[in-house]
């Protein structure tokens, strides 16, 4: 199980320079894998969410039922709503369930939750750990394909920051999901993109899409990058020539049809393997209705730290002001062009989450189409530069940007989706020191916004410490390996200070929230403020994520030096 070797044998000829490395540098993730796996085993007895039952149910579905019934089964409320590859993955796992564990309650189609023993927990938690090996192999490949010692150091920092990410500890190993396994395919496709293997890049991303469709957020960036970087030749259109000449040139000279067909075949091939059986049985409609349920509210019960959290927060403030300050209501209605009297009865709907309609009292209502338009607008905006200059560096930026805007403006976004922005951003950040403050801000705010996922007291110190140590270690390490930018003039030092203050304030903030939580048993008034604590988390973290996004946007659109191909690695 030595990843270093399994991968390195293939890469040997490329890395002549690597051979001369001093022995003291050890760029293997083996140590990190062993240490983190041992720690993860200690986490077996921790709290797990209903997602545990979800995956247990999927194991049972794939084990007990034939393929054509998978997407129709609805004994439990946790129906199968991931794309087919993930269902196949569960099918593979279900082949390895030992008899004793199956009888323990692991394999059972039931409507009730929590009917399983500790053996099932051990088994399912082990599958997370084992499937995560793919992530480590992918990250090791990232390191081993480096072209120089400096790049190798950089990639090692990226790889270890992802491997030790508190996000995976919190979401995968305590809360229970398989994100480590899924992100492995994203890493693989990014590694191939860096090496210029566009076909493999497309292949891995297609596989990823068929594992979990949330990665569709990133698809526009992939599409434009592959199209523009692989399928188009840079040719100037000569205006002096006739229109017909130009069309001919575009058709036969600019577009590389061979590449286009290759990519098309690869993507269609992957999707055929995934969805083919369901098309054969004529169930595609059913599968799609499971994958894209449009009956949810704008925000989740706990608001993800995005734009809508701040939007709802402003509405909340306005409600309080309108209720308590005489005359304010009239003023607000005049400005916002609302008819009076204001109906405050909808104010409680934001807390319900799963229910379809979210009603804002003062601010304009938000429909799915609004969120969709906003997301699309920003995505197209960021894809334009990528289309004209499809460098790998800019592709990473666009990828991060796409995922990030979807997180910020998307409909019914989960807080867990912040990983979609953090993971690609950690690939970007080494390109320039200027990106570092905003990365630190995003990572700190993003990981801390995951805290409310684990509400028990037993895991509190663990999640706080692991996030704290991650921030300390990787702020130092990224600071050491990032490219020094040559144009330091645009760095806004004052803003960096504010960033730092914000990050330091996280510690008293988390402690304060926890103290009010602890004291709520003595003071019943605090207990009624349960929702307020969650809101504080999402608003505070949301402010961080949004301002980090602002500075990232600025650098993405205004500072081309960051996104151009680096001559020296």
């Amino acid at each position: 199980m030595d990843m270093r070797n399994t991968v390195e044998t293939k890469q040997q000829p490329q890395n002549r320079a690597v051979e001369e490395l001093p022995r003291k540098y050890n760029f293997s993730l083996w140590n990190i894998w062993v240490a983190s796996t041992l720690l993860k085993i200690l986490l077996f007895p921790t709290y797990h969410s209903t997602d545990f039952d979800v995956h247990r149910n999927w194991l049972s579905i794939t084990k007990l039922l034939p393929l054509r019934k998978w997407y129709f089964e609805h004994t439990s409320q946790w129906t199968l709503d991931y794309p087919p590859f993930f269902a196949y993955f569960e099918w593979v796992l279900s082949r390895f369930v030992p008899e004793a564990i199956a009888r323990d309650g692991c394999i059972k189609l039931t409507a009730k939750d929590g009917e399983y023993g500790y053996l099932t927990v051990i088994f399912q938690r082990s599958t997370v750990i084992i499937s995560e090996i793919v992530l480590f192999l992918a990250l090791q490949r990232l390191i081993d394909t480096s072209r120089s010692l400096r790049e190798k150091k950089r990639n090692f920092v990226i790889a270890s920051s992802i491997a030790l990410s508190p996000g995976f500890f919190i979401i995968d190993h305590i809360h229970f999901q398989y994100n480590g396994f899924l992100f492995a395919f994203l890493v693989l496709s990014l590694v191939e993109a860096r090496l210029g293997n566009y076909r493999r890049c497309a292949f891995w991303f297609a596989v990823l899409l068929c594992l979990k469709h949330i990665f569709l957020y990133m698809a526009p960036a992939y599409f434009v990058y592959l199209l523009s970087g692989f399928c188009l030749k840079r040719r100037k259109i000569d205006t002096s020539k006739s229109f017909g000449e130009n069309v001919k040139q575009v058709l036969f000279d600019t577009i590389i049809w061979r590449h286009l067909f290759q990519l098309g075949l690869i993507v269609i091939g992957v999707f055929t393997v995934a969805f083919g059986p369901f098309v054969y049985y004529g169930e595609l409609d059913q599968v799609m209705s499971r994958l894209f349920p449009f009956s949810r509210g704008l925000t989740h019960a706990y608001w993800a730290p995005n734009f809508w959290a701040l939007y709802s927060f402003v509405d909340r403030i306005l409600i309080q002001l309108g209720k308590n300050i005489p005359g304010f209501e009239r003023l607000a209605c005049a400005i916002l062009k609302k008819s009076r009297p204001v109906d405050y009865s909808g104010a409680s709907s934001l807390t319900r989450g799963i229910v379809g309609d979210v009603e804002f009292v003062f601010l304009p209502q938000i429909l799915p189409v609004h969120t969709f338009m906003l997301t699309l607008f920003y995505q197209i905006l960021c894809l334009i530069p990528l289309f004209f200059r499809p460098s790998y560096e800019r592709f990473l930026g666009a990828l991060t940007y796409c995922a990030w805007t979807s997180f910020l403006f998307g409909w019914h976004v989960h807080e867990k989706a912040i990983l979609l922005a953090i993971i690609p951003y950690s690939f970007c950040v080494i390109q320039d020191r200027k990106l570092l403050p905003s990365f630190e801000l995003l990572a700190t705010a993003g990981y801390i916004s995951l805290f409310p996922l684990l509400f028990g007291s037993a895991e509190w110190l663990f999640k706080a410490l692991i996030t704290f140590v991650w921030v300390v270690v990787f702020n130092t390490s990224f600071n050491e390996v990032c490219h020094f930018s040559t144009t330091l003039a645009r760095r806004a030092a004052a803003l960096d200070r504010i960033n730092l203050i914000y990050e330091f304030l996280m510690v008293p903030f988390c402690l304060f929230i926890q103290m009010t939580d602890v004291e709520s048993r003595n003071f019943p008034i605090l207990d009624r403020l349960q929702f307020l604590r969650l809101m504080a988390y999402s608003v505070y973290c949301g402010a961080g994520v949004l301002s980090s996004w602002n500075s990232f946007s600025w650098l993405y659109f205004m500072d081309d030096s960051v996104w151009e191909e680096k001559k020296e690695w």
Binding site: L39, L42, V472
Partner: protein, 536 residues
């Protein structure tokens, strides 16, 4: 020492994973990060262990040590001080010295601020809520963070500066090797006790002895004893060292009466202040009651199964049927005195600082092996000074010490199994050995059978150079692993239900006894070899 200073210190953990993790932070401006990392990760591991079960979970009516600690918080916060040592002695009556009582009082008061039902008098007996568990775990964690962890860092720093000449990053690596030893982690944060407070005070006392702060050392050691009387295992060495330093200072070769008096006064003053509240509020009889509670000699030679001399030889000689309890007390006392004689004598004649950990190890081990009424958890007392021996620049010492660590963890297996800490036992055992590089031979072995494993230098040698010890160590490892496998696969025969536990006791006892003999031997060779060491 002069010679050693010339030779550059080469850390014995050079090729270990610990080194791999910490070396990226060896730049001077990043050293603080390395120290943060080892401390925060030490806390993280302790947190993760703390998520597991504790002793006596869901076992009414008596529960276990967790309930005992909680119960003491309950009685100290609710009863007047005069009743602390008298209240319902059948149900976990207080049987530790005053400082434990004060510690419980403080933690109980803080806990009551959060939730008064946790420590409500009488009605909270056997209370087991997740929040209470988290609170208790956090108190154990903070107690360790306040005392034991800084003490370890300070000790390695002194050693690096004045003894083995280790660089700052090497000091951090050695401190990490000490902090990730499983025995204390699993007893304090798994089983649940506050041993780290007692060990922390003792270690801080030792650090102060190294810096020649005799009065501070005396006060800290008194605090340690008055937290748990088990710290008396160290008392002879502290006593003889201080006595010798006072009577004939190695520097001036004269009697320092003033030092003697001040050390004596600080001990007496500390004890006086501790017992003062009891005497003021309950009368002079309190002290007698406290001592009766502390030293329960009527309990018998050994409780349960413990890997010391008496329990291990009990299968051949049934002491309890041959001798009366008072005779056994005398026999145990004589054996113990003989056992501690070498270390006490040595520290009297050669009061050198680098010998202190060795003498503490030998002396407390003798207590563990021969004294009356020993618990399996008492192995932590010899364990603490033995962890300090990781500072020695000698691969033989490191391999012997690592052998002892594994034997110590193995000896606690029956206890941990009863507590349901099986996963934690296995994970921590592997983690500590792997971190120090004790498992690097696996890589070598895999390469030897032509498996495609990346080459790395061998980290610490697992076996010492001496053939005799090689055979002993390999034999004991094979026996221990064999026993674990057998225990896992088969149930013990009906006629001998404790067979596996007795096997555990015999293997652990043989390891401990042999280690003790080796420790004494090394101690004397080190003392004789003047050329290598500094005296002051």
């Amino acid at each position: 020492m002069r010679q050693l200073r010339k030779n550059k210190f080469v850390s014995l953990f050079r090729s270990s994973p610990l080194n791999d993790f910490l070396v990226p932070f060896r730049k001077a401006q990043n050293q603080w990060v390395a120290r943060y990392i080892i401390i925060v990760f030490a806390l993280i591991v302790r947190c993760a262990v703390g998520i597991g079960p504790y002793s006596g979970e869901n076992t009414p009516p008596m529960y276990g040590d967790f309930e005992a600690q909680r119960h003491w918080m309950e009685i100290t916060t609710h009863l007047p001080i005069g009743k602390w040592y008298y209240f319902d002695l059948q149900y976990w009556g207080l049987d530790y010295p005053p400082l434990t009582a004060f510690h419980s009082w403080l933690l109980g008061k803080i806990g009551s601020l959060i939730d008064s039902s946790w420590f409500a008098l009488n009605v909270s007996r056997g209370l087991e809520t997740p929040d209470l568990k988290s609170y208790m775990r956090i108190t154990a964690l903070f107690s360790e963070l306040a005392l034991y962890i800084p003490a370890v860092i300070l000790f390695t720093r002194w050693m690096g500066r004045y003894y083995n000449n280790a660089s700052t990053i090497d000091q951090t690596i050695i401190a990490a090797a000490i902090l990730y030893q499983p025995a204390l982690i699993i007893i304090d944060h798994g089983h649940f006790q506050y041993n780290s407070v007692m060990l922390g005070f003792s270690l801080l006392a030792l650090v102060n002895l190294l810096y020649d702060n005799f009065c501070v050392a005396a006060i800290l050691f008194t605090l340690s004893i008055s937290f748990k009387q088990m710290a008396l295992y160290y008392a002879p060495i502290f006593f003889f060292y201080l006595l010798r330093i006072c009577l004939r200072s190695p520097r001036t070769h004269s009697v320092c009466i003033l030092r003697f008096v001040s050390v004596g006064c600080s001990v007496i003053a500390t004890l006086f202040l501790e017992f003062l509240p009891f005497v003021v509020f309950g009368g002079i009889g309190q002290i007698k009651q406290c001592l009766i509670r502390l030293f329960p000699f009527e309990r018998g030679l050994f409780e349960d199964k413990v890997s010391n001399f008496w329990c291990a030889t009990n299968i051949f000689i049934k002491y309890k049927s041959i001798f009366s309890t008072s005779q056994l007390k005398t026999i145990a006392l004589v054996f113990t005195l003989i056992g501690i004689a070498p270390s006490c004598g040595l520290i009297c004649f050669k009061p050198r600082k680098e010998l202190l950990p060795w003498c503490l190890a030998s002396c407390s081990m003798a207590f563990y092996l021969f004294s009356f009424q020993v618990h399996e958890k008492s192995i932590l007392l010899p364990w603490m000074p033995i962890t300090l021996l990781l500072n020695e620049v000698d691969s033989d010492v490191i391999s012997m010490v690592c052998w002892f660590f594994n034997a110590a963890l193995f000896s606690m297996w029956p206890l941990l199994k009863r507590d349901g800490l099986i996963i934690q036992y296995a994970v921590l055992g592997i983690l500590s050995n792997w971190l120090m590089g004790n498992l690097s031979w696996i890589r070598k072995a895999l390469r030897a059978i032509k498996l495609p494993v990346h080459y790395r230098n061998l980290a610490t040698p697992v076996l010492p150079h001496n053939l005799f010890w090689r055979v002993i160590i390999v034999g004991s490892y094979i026996a221990a692993i064999g026993l674990q496998i057998v225990e896992f696969v088969f149930d013990p025969p009906k006629s001998l239900p404790h067979l596996w536990i007795i096997g555990n006791v015999e293997i652990s006892f043989c390891s401990f006894a042999l280690f003790w003999i080796w420790c004494n031997y090394r101690m004397f060779t080190l003392a004789v070899d003047d050329s290598k060491l500094k005296t002051e």
